[in-house]
Structure formats: C-alpha cells, structure tokens
Amino acid sequence: MDKKTLEHIAELSRIRLTEKELEKFTPQMETILESAKILQEIGTTNVQPMKKHIPFDNLREDIAKESLTQEEVLANAIHKENGYVKVYGKIFGGIEES
C-alpha cells in the first residue's frame, strides 16, 4: 500500500484526504491488508461458501405493493425541486457531500 493507491481508493469512494491524512492512513491501511493476508493464506479450494441456499420456488412472488409517498421519499433530502431530489456538482467527480 502506497500513498498513490490510497489516493485512488479515496477517489473511488468520493472522499478527499488531506496530505496529513494520507500520511496517517497509509501505514494503517498497510496493517489492515497484512491482517487480511493471513486469512488469504488458508486453503479454501473445494470449500463451499458459508451462505444460505434457498430453492427457487421460495422466492418472492411478483406482486406490487404500495410505495412510500413522495413526501416521505424526499424527507431526508437536503435539496429538492418539483418532487425530485436535487444534487449539486458536475456529472463526473466533484459530487457534493450531502
């Protein structure tokens, strides 16, 4: 893990890190990755994932139910306009943290 990788991860997560934070988090991330590496050493070939299986027939039937009202949907939005959620910022990058 170097500073550049961390910067890339921060960008993907749409968060800005200061130079000081980058310095601080790089070794921390390194430690996290080291720990995860130990888990990766365990051989798991031919081991089924520990996940519940359900038969196809048990899935939800396709029946539509009532949704929330527009007012309820927009209740948590900081900005709204004519029933839409409003977000400031450009299309690629720079989305405002709301």
């Binding site: 890339h8 993907l12 997560s13 749409r14 994932p49 996940k51 519940k52 299986h53 359900i54 038969p55 196809f56 027939d57 899935l59 939800r60 039937e61 396709d62 029946i63 539509a64 139910k65 949704s67 929330l68 009202t69 527009q70 949907v73 927009l74 900005h79 306009e81 004519n82 029933g83 839409y84 959620v85 409003k86 977000v87 400031y88 910022g89 450009k90 299309i91 690629f92 989305i95």
Partner: protein
C-alpha cells in the same frame, strides 16, 4: 481510402428492463412511466440503511426465458454480487448485479440478414452471458441561472429488473449488429420478457468496436490477441443510442472515424463516446485510462438461489411455439400478408395472444382462414392503432375479444357498415360505454331501418328530383349522392350496396 485492409470487430451489450409488476428486490410497482417522480419508491430501492433486498421470482424466470430463447446454458445456482461505484443515481453505493456466475451463459443466435435485393446471408452471434441486475435512478442535468450545475433525481426507475445480454466480440459489421439487436428485441417481445421499447428506455444498446488491420490479430479463447509483435488498436464503446436504427448508423460512423484516424497515423485511445442522433456523429465522453474498479464482492444479503432441472422444465413449458412456426401459420396457412404476419408475431406476446383469441372466437362463425384474416385486419387497424395512439398496451381494456368478435360478425353479416362499426368502437372508448351494449342498440336500430328502408329510399327519391333526373340522363355519379342521402337519414346503419340496388330498382321501375 481502402477500407478492405481492415477488419471490424464488434461486441454488443444490451440492457433490457423485464416486464414484471414489482421491482427486482422490493415490491414497489414498476409502472412508473409518465408518473410523478419519486412516487414508486420504498426504503429498499432508496437504499436506506437496514433495508434488505428480496429477489423477485418472476424477474428471474424472465431472465431464464431469455436464456432459453437464445440457446444459453442455465446455471443451477444464482449468485448476486455488489458492483460498487459512487453516483447519485445509485443510492446504496453499489448495484446488485452478477459477476462470476451469470444466470445464462454460452448462448448463440443465428442472425439472418440481407441488404434490399440481395441474397440472405447469415452470421452466428455468440452470447457470452445474460445476467440479472437492477436498474438505477433517472438523473437529468441542469444549470442554475448563476451558472451552478445541478442534477435532479427520480428514484422511480431505481431497482427495476434489468437483464444484460453480452455478446462475444464476434460481430463483423454494423448491419449484423443492427440485425442482432432487432432479433433480440423481437425475442424479448415474443416471449413476453419485455416490451423492449428503446424510446422508453426499456432497451439500451451499447456496442464496443475496434478496427484492426487484416492479418494482425486472431481470436484466442474469445479474446482478440495480436499475431507476432503487432500492436492492436484499443476498442471504443458507444453509449446513448436511442433507437434500433441508430445502432447501425452509430457503428458505421464510428468505424469510418476510426479508420480515418488510423490512416492519418493518429493514436487511438480506449474511450467511451456518446451518439448524437441530431448531428449523426459520435462525441468523445471520457477515456478509460485506468480500468473500471468496481470492487465486486458477493452480496451477503441474498442467499444462493438453487435452480433445479425441474424449475427449468417448468419455465420451458410456458414457452410458445417457435416464432418462425407461428409466422408460417399466419402467413402461409391463413394467408395474412408478410408485413401483417410479422407485426402480429413480433409486436409482443400480448399481441398474438389477443389476435389468436379473437381468431378462435370468430372461427365459431366463419371459416378458420376468414376468421384469421378478419381478426388480423380488425385488430391491426382498430385496437392496435388506438393502443399506439394512446399508449395503452392493455388491448382487452380497449375492447374485449368477445365484443370485438361480435362487432366483426355484425359487419360480416351486413348488419353494420365498416364505418359504423369503427365508430361504435371509438365511441365505446371515448365515452367509456360498454361496446356490447352499443352493438346491441345498433343492431336493433339497423333492424328498424331495414324494416322501412323502402320508405326512406322513396323519401330520398321524392325530395331529390334533380339528382334522379341526372341519373336517368346517364350521370352515374349522382347515384352516389342519393346513396349518401339514405346513409345520412339512417345514420350510417343502412348497407350502402343494398341501398344502391334498391335505389336503382325504384328509379328504373
């Protein structure tokens, strides 16, 4: 410019919204089209913390159906994965999709195509995978008067079931890509998987294209690899194609542009371009310097879904006969024109089901072929055209097959004229009246009229002496005028042909 020096390599990604009543992972209704924004939304499709996804059985059935219709293998376990990216149209911060194990894989489709007047050729398009995912919200971009840019978001579309069909990079021309997209649209409609209307965003087509000098590349495990030390050109992806015909136009434009660039010695960079339908050209959107980093991981909220052979068999049983077989039945056995038979078969499952139901009802009174031709003619010119005008796809709510069959019978038995019959149909829709009642009334009225048609004809003759004299003097056209007068008096209920005979008989008599 010598284009024959180059090979064109095309792969297609086609997204189709499948036709379910509720969303992919929640019970919100999917009929959001033309509805108020943010009214078909719940905590799940809004991505609120703690809300859990519950997969929709019908949606997965439709995905399997599409796979069966394109000769795919169906996976016996369904795994869902999370595809992460941060964008306001994706409130959870990830899209539930499938990464490693798509529901359907290894399909193929035989694409028949021909330029007008040329021999039909074929190309087999290999389908790499069809996987299930969910649609995202709709965002529109605007600018405030002070120059501040902003985005408006409507979450109604968020979580609508979406399937993605990915072909191998095996398509060799824009023509084949266009034909393949058309066939996929037809298949989706035929099997009732989707209405696949590109204008409504129910189907989206994204081609990726590369142009390579002949002899510099080969296919290895379905990847395009260089021969010897050749440097291959990167691919370009085109987005924002809004109609089936634009698929061919956009690819042709891009192929020419790429060859021009190469001939001019320019370096091609891997990029995404958008199709501008108005200007008829592709426009640079962004370059793909670093590969997309979606950090896929298995979705821990959704269990592994087991599909047995029995489940697949059950879905297979619901599939209608092969579409070509149906087309031949309509076109050859029932002698419905090529164009009409094609529309009936490929306008969608609802269309041919309605048509066949109507045909069956008419078959009780008429010969099978006559029943089919009348059903086709009436359905296409009345119910379907009304549906296209109004956007109402529920044909039975326009006219039930029972009522329409009655109307056609009344016309065939000369009780109602074609115009009168169509007028009743429109009246029933516009004034929300029961068509069955309107037909009964019209029939009764027609009966009254036929009872005293002689009287009405006499009245018309007596009050139009000039037209009668003109006719006697050899002016054939004036009989048309007199028929018109009778039609007016009977409010269109009289049969024009028999009225004509009665008129001539009376004038000559």
């Amino acid at each position: 410019m010598d284009r024959s020096k180059y090979d064109v390599i095309i792969g297609l990604e086609i997204h189709i919204q499948t036709k379910t009543k509720s969303k992919m992972f929640c019970s919100c209704p999917t009929n959001y089209f033309n509805n108020e924004p943010n009214t078909h939304v719940c905590p799940t499709c809004l991505g609120l913390p703690g809300a859990l996804p519950v997969p929709n059985k019908r949606a997965i059935e439709l995905c399997i159906l599409m796979g069966l219709a394109t000769q795919c293998d169906i996976h016996n376990e369904i795994h869902f994965d999370r595809k992460h990216y941060f964008y306001p149209d994706l409130p959870k911060g990830y899209q539930i999709s499938q990464y490693k194990d798509p529901i359907c894989s290894n399909g193929k489709h035989l694409c028949l195509y021909a330029a007008p007047g040329e021999k039909t050729e074929f190309e087999i398009v290999e389908i790499e995978r069809i996987h299930q995912e969910e649609d995202v919200a709709k965002s529109t971009h605007h600018t405030e008067s002070n120059g501040q840019e902003y985005t408006l978001i409507d979450y109604n579309k968020s979580g609508v079931p979406l399937i993605e069909i990915v072909t191998k990079p095996c398509i060799t021309s824009a023509r084949v890509a266009y034909k393949f997209a058309t066939d996929i649209q037809n298949i989706a409609r035929y099997y009732g998987v989707s209405d696949a209307d590109m204008e409504k965003g129910q189907m989206r087509c994204e081609p990726n294209i590369s142009v390579q000098r002949k002899g510099t590349w080969k296919r290895l495990d379905n990847k395009i690899v260089p021969i010897n030390e050749a440097v291959l050109n990167p691919k370009v992806e085109i987005k924002n194609i809004g109609s089936i015909s634009a698929v061919e136009k956009a690819i042709n434009y891009e192929v020419n542009r790429l060859i021009d660039e190469i001939e001019q010695g320019k370096e091609i960079v891997q990029q995404t371009r958008g199709w501008d339908a108005v200007k008829g050209k592709t426009v640079f959107q962004r370059s793909k310097e670093s590969a997309d980093d979606y950090r896929y991981m298995p979705d821990p909220d959704i269990p592994i879904i087991e599909i047995t052979q029995k489940d697949i068999e059950r879905i297979k049983e619901t599939m209608p006969e092969n579409s070509y077989k149906k087309y031949c039945k309509y076109n050859k056995d029932w002698e419905i024109s090529d164009h009409d038979a094609y529309t009936l078969v490929f306008n969608g499952k609802d269309t041919y089901e309605y048509f066949e139901d109507l045909q069956a009802k008419l078959s009780t009174s008429f010969d099978t072929k006559v029943a089919a031709q009348e059903a086709s003619n009436w359905f296409l010119t009345t119910v379907l055209s009304i549906s296209n005008e109004s956007g109402n796809k529920d044909y039975n709510s326009i006219a039930t097959t029972k009522d329409l069959a009655q109307l056609i019978e009344a016309f065939k038995n000369n009780i109602l004229t074609r115009n009168k019959a169509e007028e009743l149909l429109r009246e029933s829709i516009e004034k929300k009246k029961n068509l069955g009642d309107l037909i009964s009334n019209a029939k009764k009225h027609a009966k009254d009229i036929t009872g005293n048609i002689d009287e009405i004809v006499q009245e018309v003759i007596d009050s139009n002496p000039k037209a009668v004299d003109d006719y006697k003097a050899g002016k054939e056209a004036s009989i048309g005028y007199l028929v018109g007068q009778v039609m007016q008096k009977t409010k269109g209920s009289a049969d024009p042909n028999s009225t004509r005979s009665i008129l001539i008989e009376k004038i000559n008599g």
